[in-house]
Protein backbone atom coordinates (compact mmCIF):
# COMPACT_ATOMS: atom_id res chain seq x y z
CA UNK A 1 0.00 0.00 0.00
CA UNK A 2 0.93 3.65 -0.47
CA UNK A 3 1.29 4.29 3.25
CA UNK A 4 3.67 1.39 3.65
CA UNK A 5 5.98 2.85 1.01
CA UNK A 6 6.14 6.20 2.81
CA UNK A 7 6.76 4.53 6.16
CA UNK A 8 9.67 2.69 4.58
CA UNK A 9 10.89 5.97 3.09
CA UNK A 10 10.90 7.61 6.50
CA UNK A 11 12.86 4.80 8.12
CA UNK A 12 15.32 4.84 5.21
CA UNK A 13 15.80 8.60 5.63
CA UNK A 14 16.45 8.20 9.33
CA UNK A 15 18.94 5.40 8.71
CA UNK A 16 20.90 7.32 6.10
CA UNK A 17 20.95 10.49 8.16
CA UNK A 18 22.39 8.81 11.22
CA UNK A 19 24.80 6.63 9.26
CA UNK A 20 26.14 9.54 7.23
CA UNK A 21 26.48 12.07 10.03
CA UNK A 22 27.62 10.05 13.02
CA UNK A 23 30.00 7.25 13.70
CA UNK A 24 27.71 4.78 15.42
CA UNK A 25 29.85 1.67 15.43
CA UNK A 26 31.57 2.65 18.65
CA UNK A 27 31.61 -0.60 20.57
CA UNK A 28 30.37 -0.84 24.13
CA UNK A 29 32.98 -3.49 24.80
CA UNK A 30 35.70 -0.93 24.12
CA UNK A 31 34.29 1.08 27.05
CA UNK A 32 34.43 -2.00 29.27
CA UNK A 33 37.94 -2.97 28.20
CA UNK A 34 39.42 0.53 28.53
CA UNK A 35 37.76 0.87 31.93
CA UNK A 36 39.34 -2.37 33.07
CA UNK A 37 42.77 -1.39 31.75
CA UNK A 38 42.48 2.01 33.48
CA UNK A 39 41.70 0.28 36.79
CA UNK A 40 44.73 -1.99 36.46
CA UNK A 41 46.93 1.01 35.60
CA UNK A 42 45.67 2.99 38.58
CA UNK A 43 46.19 0.09 40.99
CA UNK A 44 49.73 -0.37 39.66
CA UNK A 45 50.46 3.36 40.08
CA UNK A 46 49.05 3.24 43.60
CA UNK A 47 51.03 0.18 44.65
CA UNK A 48 54.32 1.20 43.06
CA UNK A 49 54.36 4.95 43.65
CA UNK A 50 51.53 6.76 45.41
CA UNK A 51 51.33 4.39 48.39
CA UNK A 52 54.88 5.31 49.42
CA UNK A 53 54.85 9.03 48.67
CA UNK A 54 52.77 12.09 49.44
CA UNK A 55 52.50 13.21 45.85
CA UNK A 56 48.81 14.12 45.77
CA UNK A 57 49.14 17.66 47.15
CA UNK A 58 48.68 21.23 45.93
CA UNK A 59 52.36 21.91 45.35
CA UNK A 60 55.34 20.72 43.40
CA UNK A 61 57.03 17.71 44.95
CA UNK A 62 60.49 16.34 44.23
CA UNK A 63 59.97 13.20 42.16
CA UNK A 64 63.03 11.03 41.67
CA UNK A 65 63.85 9.48 38.32
CA UNK A 66 62.70 6.01 39.34
CA UNK A 67 59.21 7.15 40.32
CA UNK A 68 58.93 9.50 37.38
CA UNK A 69 59.78 6.75 34.94
CA UNK A 70 57.42 4.29 36.67
CA UNK A 71 54.58 6.80 36.38
CA UNK A 72 55.37 7.57 32.75
CA UNK A 73 55.63 3.89 31.85
CA UNK A 74 52.34 3.03 33.56
CA UNK A 75 50.62 5.99 31.92
CA UNK A 76 51.98 5.16 28.49
CA UNK A 77 51.16 1.46 28.84
CA UNK A 78 47.62 2.19 30.00
CA UNK A 79 47.06 4.66 27.18
CA UNK A 80 48.48 2.36 24.51
CA UNK A 81 46.54 -0.72 25.65
CA UNK A 82 43.33 1.32 25.93
CA UNK A 83 43.65 2.75 22.43
CA UNK A 84 44.47 -0.65 20.93
CA UNK A 85 41.57 -2.38 22.66
CA UNK A 86 39.11 0.41 21.81
CA UNK A 87 40.12 0.34 18.15
CA UNK A 88 39.99 -3.45 18.05
CA UNK A 89 36.47 -3.79 19.47
CA UNK A 90 35.18 -0.87 17.41
CA UNK A 91 36.77 -2.21 14.23
CA UNK A 92 35.21 -5.59 14.88
CA UNK A 93 31.78 -4.06 15.32
CA UNK A 94 32.20 -1.91 12.20
CA UNK A 95 33.11 -4.88 10.06
CA UNK A 96 30.18 -6.83 11.42
CA UNK A 97 27.85 -4.01 10.44
CA UNK A 98 29.53 -3.81 7.05
CA UNK A 99 30.69 -0.27 7.59
CA UNK A 100 34.07 1.01 6.62
CA UNK A 101 36.05 1.50 9.84
CA UNK A 102 38.00 4.48 8.67
CA UNK A 103 35.33 6.58 7.03
CA UNK A 104 34.64 10.30 7.18
CA UNK A 105 32.61 10.02 10.35
CA UNK A 106 35.29 8.04 12.17
CA UNK A 107 37.91 10.58 11.13
CA UNK A 108 35.83 13.51 12.30
CA UNK A 109 35.12 11.78 15.61
CA UNK A 110 38.78 10.98 16.16
CA UNK A 111 40.03 14.48 15.31
CA UNK A 112 37.48 16.08 17.61
CA UNK A 113 38.39 13.73 20.44
CA UNK A 114 42.10 14.25 19.90
CA UNK A 115 42.19 18.05 20.12
CA UNK A 116 41.22 18.31 23.83
CA UNK A 117 42.97 15.02 24.63
CA UNK A 118 46.33 16.06 23.19
CA UNK A 119 46.10 19.48 24.83
CA UNK A 120 45.40 17.88 28.20
CA UNK A 121 48.05 15.22 27.67
CA UNK A 122 50.78 17.75 26.93
CA UNK A 123 49.72 19.96 29.84
CA UNK A 124 49.84 16.97 32.20
CA UNK A 125 53.29 15.96 30.95
CA UNK A 126 54.58 19.48 31.64
CA UNK A 127 53.05 19.47 35.13
CA UNK A 128 54.47 16.01 35.81
CA UNK A 129 57.99 17.08 34.87
CA UNK A 130 57.66 20.21 37.01
CA UNK A 131 56.65 18.06 39.98
CA UNK A 132 52.96 18.95 40.14
CA UNK A 133 51.95 15.29 40.21
CA UNK A 134 48.86 15.96 42.29
CA UNK A 135 47.13 17.92 39.54
CA UNK A 136 47.38 15.13 36.99
CA UNK A 137 44.49 12.81 38.01
CA UNK A 138 42.00 15.70 38.17
CA UNK A 139 43.18 17.26 34.92
CA UNK A 140 43.14 14.02 32.94
CA UNK A 141 39.51 13.50 34.04
CA UNK A 142 38.55 17.04 33.02
CA UNK A 143 40.21 16.94 29.61
CA UNK A 144 38.83 13.48 28.90
CA UNK A 145 35.36 14.77 29.71
CA UNK A 146 35.84 17.77 27.42
CA UNK A 147 37.03 15.46 24.63
CA UNK A 148 33.91 13.30 24.97
CA UNK A 149 31.63 16.32 24.86
CA UNK A 150 33.48 17.61 21.81
CA UNK A 151 33.17 14.21 20.14
CA UNK A 152 29.51 13.76 21.04
CA UNK A 153 28.45 15.63 17.89
CA UNK A 154 29.97 12.89 15.78
CA UNK A 155 28.78 9.75 17.54
CA UNK A 156 26.05 8.74 20.01
CA UNK A 157 24.90 12.04 21.45
CA UNK A 158 24.46 10.53 24.92
CA UNK A 159 28.23 10.18 25.23
CA UNK A 160 27.98 13.83 26.27
CA UNK A 161 26.61 12.72 29.66
CA UNK A 162 29.61 10.50 30.20
CA UNK A 163 31.71 13.59 29.42
CA UNK A 164 29.85 15.74 31.94
CA UNK A 165 30.25 13.04 34.59
CA UNK A 166 34.01 12.88 33.97
CA UNK A 167 34.36 16.68 34.22
CA UNK A 168 32.42 16.81 37.49
CA UNK A 169 34.56 14.01 38.92
CA UNK A 170 37.66 15.91 37.80
CA UNK A 171 36.54 19.04 39.64
CA UNK A 172 35.78 17.02 42.77
CA UNK A 173 39.20 15.40 42.42
CA UNK A 174 40.76 18.87 42.43
CA UNK A 175 38.90 19.69 45.61
CA UNK A 176 39.91 16.50 47.40
CA UNK A 177 43.31 16.15 45.82
CA UNK A 178 44.58 13.54 48.30
CA UNK A 179 41.74 11.25 47.17
CA UNK A 180 42.04 12.14 43.49
CA UNK A 181 43.44 8.77 42.45
CA UNK A 182 40.32 7.02 43.75
CA UNK A 183 38.11 9.47 41.89
CA UNK A 184 40.20 8.82 38.80
CA UNK A 185 39.53 5.08 39.21
CA UNK A 186 35.84 5.81 39.57
CA UNK A 187 35.78 7.96 36.41
CA UNK A 188 38.10 6.15 34.03
CA UNK A 189 37.36 2.71 35.47
CA UNK A 190 33.94 2.17 36.96
CA UNK A 191 31.81 4.78 35.18
CA UNK A 192 33.47 4.08 31.83
CA UNK A 193 32.75 0.35 32.23
CA UNK A 194 29.13 0.92 33.25
CA UNK A 195 28.59 3.22 30.27
CA UNK A 196 30.18 0.65 27.97
CA UNK A 197 27.88 -2.09 29.28
CA UNK A 198 24.87 0.15 28.77
CA UNK A 199 25.60 0.83 25.10
CA UNK A 200 26.57 -2.78 24.55
CA UNK A 201 23.18 -3.96 25.78
CA UNK A 202 21.36 -1.36 23.71
CA UNK A 203 23.12 -1.93 20.44
Amino acid sequence: MEKEKYLNDLSEIRKIMSRSARFISLSGLSGVSTGLIALIGAVLAHQLVFRHHDYLVYEAVPVDLKNLSSLLLIALGTLLLSVVSALWFTGRKSRRENQRVWDNQAQRLLINLLIPLTTGGILCLILLFKGYVGFVPALTLIFYGLALINGSHYTFSHIRYLGIAEILLGLVAFLFIDRSLYLWMLGFGAIQMIYGMLIQRKG
Binding site: Y6, L10, I13, S20, A21
Partner: protein
Amino acid sequence: MKEFLKDLDKAFENRIRLGIMSALMVNDQLDFNTLKDLLGVTDGNLASHLKSLEKSEYVSFSKSFLERKPNTSYAATAKGKMAFRKHIGAIEKLLL
Protein backbone atom coordinates in the same frame (compact mmCIF):
# COMPACT_ATOMS: atom_id res chain seq x y z
CA MET B 1 -7.95 15.66 -2.75
CA LYS B 2 -6.07 16.70 0.31
CA GLU B 3 -4.20 19.97 0.09
CA PHE B 4 -0.82 18.81 1.42
CA LEU B 5 -0.44 16.12 -1.24
CA LYS B 6 0.90 18.72 -3.63
CA ASP B 7 3.94 19.04 -1.36
CA LEU B 8 4.95 15.48 -2.17
CA ASP B 9 7.84 15.94 -4.55
CA LYS B 10 8.26 13.73 -7.62
CA ALA B 11 12.01 14.21 -7.31
CA PHE B 12 11.97 12.27 -4.03
CA GLU B 13 9.76 9.43 -5.20
CA ASN B 14 12.93 7.55 -6.09
CA ARG B 15 14.77 5.80 -3.25
CA ILE B 16 18.22 6.81 -4.37
CA ARG B 17 17.37 10.48 -4.81
CA LEU B 18 15.68 10.39 -1.43
CA GLY B 19 18.84 8.86 0.03
CA ILE B 20 21.10 11.46 -1.57
CA MET B 21 19.00 14.29 -0.15
CA SER B 22 18.80 12.69 3.32
CA ALA B 23 22.57 12.48 3.49
CA LEU B 24 23.03 16.03 2.21
CA MET B 25 20.56 17.39 4.76
CA VAL B 26 22.87 16.44 7.63
CA ASN B 27 26.25 16.98 5.95
CA ASP B 28 27.49 20.31 4.58
CA GLN B 29 28.92 18.44 1.63
CA LEU B 30 29.79 14.91 0.59
CA ASP B 31 31.96 13.65 -2.24
CA PHE B 32 30.88 11.22 -4.92
CA ASN B 33 32.54 8.13 -3.47
CA THR B 34 31.20 8.70 0.02
CA LEU B 35 27.69 8.97 -1.39
CA LYS B 36 28.28 5.84 -3.44
CA ASP B 37 29.40 3.81 -0.41
CA LEU B 38 26.64 5.21 1.75
CA LEU B 39 23.86 4.29 -0.66
CA GLY B 40 25.44 1.18 -2.13
CA VAL B 41 24.80 2.08 -5.76
CA THR B 42 26.85 1.97 -8.95
CA ASP B 43 28.71 4.96 -10.41
CA GLY B 44 26.38 5.37 -13.34
CA ASN B 45 23.26 5.04 -11.28
CA LEU B 46 24.39 7.62 -8.72
CA ALA B 47 25.59 10.01 -11.42
CA SER B 48 22.27 9.98 -13.26
CA HIS B 49 20.27 10.63 -10.08
CA LEU B 50 22.64 13.42 -9.04
CA LYS B 51 22.24 14.92 -12.49
CA SER B 52 18.48 14.92 -12.15
CA LEU B 53 18.67 16.57 -8.72
CA GLU B 54 21.02 19.18 -10.16
CA LYS B 55 18.51 19.82 -12.91
CA SER B 56 15.81 20.61 -10.36
CA GLU B 57 18.40 22.85 -8.63
CA TYR B 58 18.14 20.79 -5.44
CA VAL B 59 21.81 19.88 -5.40
CA SER B 60 24.91 21.87 -6.28
CA PHE B 61 28.42 20.60 -6.81
CA SER B 62 31.94 21.93 -6.59
CA LYS B 63 35.07 20.48 -8.11
CA SER B 64 38.44 20.48 -6.43
CA PHE B 65 41.65 18.51 -6.41
CA LEU B 66 42.43 16.03 -3.67
CA GLU B 67 45.99 14.69 -3.84
CA ARG B 68 46.04 15.71 -7.48
CA LYS B 69 42.92 13.69 -8.29
CA PRO B 70 39.78 15.54 -9.28
CA ASN B 71 37.16 15.37 -6.57
CA THR B 72 33.53 16.45 -6.83
CA SER B 73 31.61 17.45 -3.72
CA TYR B 74 27.87 17.74 -3.60
CA ALA B 75 25.72 19.91 -1.34
CA ALA B 76 22.00 20.52 -0.96
CA THR B 77 20.83 23.96 -2.11
CA ALA B 78 18.44 26.12 -0.09
CA LYS B 79 15.74 25.26 -2.61
CA GLY B 80 16.47 21.54 -2.24
CA LYS B 81 16.36 21.68 1.55
CA MET B 82 13.05 23.51 1.47
CA ALA B 83 11.56 20.97 -0.95
CA PHE B 84 12.83 18.08 1.18
CA ARG B 85 11.30 19.51 4.37
CA LYS B 86 7.99 20.02 2.58
CA HIS B 87 8.11 16.48 1.27
CA ILE B 88 8.73 15.05 4.74
CA GLY B 89 5.99 17.25 6.16
CA ALA B 90 3.54 15.93 3.57
CA ILE B 91 4.51 12.31 4.31
CA GLU B 92 3.98 12.88 8.01
CA LYS B 93 0.54 14.34 7.44
CA LEU B 94 -0.31 11.51 5.09
CA LEU B 95 0.57 8.97 7.76
CA LEU B 96 -1.43 10.65 10.52
